[in-house]
Subunit: 337 residues, 2 copies
């Protein structure tokens, strides 16, 4: 009999697994470890992320094998790796705020923040070595290392494309956008799920299905984020500036540019050239993006990828119905029913 899967337990166990690595500091470098705890929301004033990636990994493991504890080092590695990229992304995008707190570079300056990101990167690898202590074979631990290494490679390639695109005046193509979010977002989510499956089973078909599930889910997750950034409550009520006001080139916008005639294109370009466009301009651009099909196309794509994810999960035919239900719940929670 397996004990029921309780999501808050998974989160707090992952955080304990991470804190184990952040507590082995000595005197003079204590400040570096404080920076990392701050960024991760693991200090007193903590404001953490949703821990979606480690949750998915643990649930993937648990859906196949039951008790999730043996998979915690993998979950910690994924969360640390994700946060390394956030620390560097915040510098690269000059974002001064994340989760309603100052970003690391805004508090400690760019030099220390680059280095703290490197340290999180390093610790994401160190985390994996505890799998050996937990009895996983060297071959399995090495396979996980290779998976993470190839994922980081995709992550850096995706980030290169993102920075490159942000420095050009021309929008990228829809095709390149899918390429970019595959590397930048889907690769790590797929790796989280795949890692859980690799630790739980030797069945290569199940592993491949889980990876495909994670990949499709990652794409759906990003596209859903794209929709929320323009049509979500936060953006619509002005609680947070709309992605259009911030000139973010997400799929609805890129699709609209690609399908605009010369006049519509000029109108969109005008908003994209205006620093801090006023609400009326933003609303007009949003309406234009909708009229050009950007919203419908993105919603269709998000749904197709969500359905693909669910189909892969069903096809894997795993054993633990409860963990499977939790996984489904996360999908619906993240992407919408």
């Amino acid at each position: 009999m397996q004990s029921p899967v309780v999501l808050p337990d998974l989160i707090s166990d992952t955080e304990q697994e991470i804190l184990r690595l952040l507590s082995v500091y000595d005197g003079p470098t204590a400040g570096l470890y404080e920076m990392m705890r701050y960024h991760l929301g693991l200090d007193a004033s903590g404001s953490s992320g949703k821990r979606m990636r480690p949750l998915l990994g643990l649930l993937a493991y648990s859906s196949i094998k039951g008790d999730y504890h043996a998979a915690l080092p993998g979950a910690a590695a994924v969360e640390l790796g994700h946060n390394f990229s956030l620390v560097h992304d915040d510098i690269e995008d000059a974002d001064r705020e994340r989760r309603h707190r100052a970003t690391l570079w805004a508090v400690h300056g760019i030099p220390q923040a680059i280095n703290a990101g490197d340290m999180l990167f390093t610790l994401s690898r160190v985390a994996l070595h505890r799998l050996s202590d937990l009895g996983f074979s060297d071959a399995k631990v090495l396979r996980l290392m290779r998976l993470y290494d190839m994922t980081c490679l995709a992550l850096c390639e995706g980030q290169y494309l993102d920075i490159w695109a942000s420095e050009r005046s021309e929008p990228m193509s829809v095709e390149l956008y899918f390429d970019m979010i595959g590397r930048k977002t889907a690769a790590l989510i797929a790796a989280s799920v795949e890692a859980g499956a690799v630790l739980a089973t030797d069945d290569e078909e199940i592993i491949a299905r889980y990876r495909a599930f994670g990949w499709a889910l990652g794409i759906a997750f990003q596209l859903n984020d794209d929709l929320l950034g323009i049509w979500g409550d936060q953006a619509k009520t002005g609680k947070q500036p709309s992605d259009v006001a911030r000139h973010k080139m997400t799929l609805p916008v890129i699709y609209a540019f690609e399908h605009a005639g010369p006049d519509d294109r000029s109108r969109l370009e005008a908003v994209w050239r205006t620093d801090a466009p006023h609400d009326g301009q933003v609303a007009e651009a949003v309406a234009l993006i909708e009229r050009l099909g950007g919203r419908d196309y993105t919603r269709d794509q998000a749904r197709q990828h969500r359905d693909r994810a669910l189909a892969e999960l069903d096809a894997a035919g795993v054993v633990d119905a409860e963990a499977l239900e939790s996984l489904r719940g996360i999908i619906v929670g993240v992407i919408g029913a």
Copy 2:
């Protein structure tokens, strides 16, 4: 019979091993791979470093086991890891030039340079996986991974201390300086040598001796660099600004501060507060550092560590006399007889 060890061959084979990783790019991300080749001096206009770290690793391997080719992935990993830290250091220190060329961030901006550094970091891990293809056991490859991970951890801790110290007005203590260069410089050089030994033998005593050799050599190398930065030909002839003019807090300076009375301390502080001090001021400060014993102390420490390194090498009692001679040659070349 072993073929003679030819240093330029070791270097060009290491570069080929690295290029193998830098050639697997596809269309849209080609620019990222170009950036890395530029930084590594592996493009047409190349100006590379001395490749000291991979050389030491290959010679360590070769001194125990003969032909060095099986150790090339380890050598590539060390060189890539070293260069990841250089790319990020250049941003952190706001250095616009390295090896007489513009640094990566000076050419492509800080966002792309941070990301290219992350990619070099990633590739340093990817490099190691080829050891499996070359027939090394999973246990050995994992041991190397752990060694590199713990080395990167030390590297980030050392870099944290370096940035922290550069942002304070008080000089750090001599004790903390040794702590810092241990993590920032000696750890990676020790790891290069240790990796070579780990790949070549299972004899833990030889491995420990080689590591101790690498560590002492790393400290000696850094202290020698400190001496050259003030009393080397380049600094003395003004071909390159003296470390004193650049306000670098190296061991001779830190020692002088620690042993200065109030008057001498004020004089040193005055130079350290002056932006671009003129030659007369620099010469006076250098004379003061010498009078306070900073030069003698640093030279003594460099020699002690060099002798310690040679003693560890002798005590290891390895087999290949020729590779051993090459190693000794590098020591004398780098640190002086």
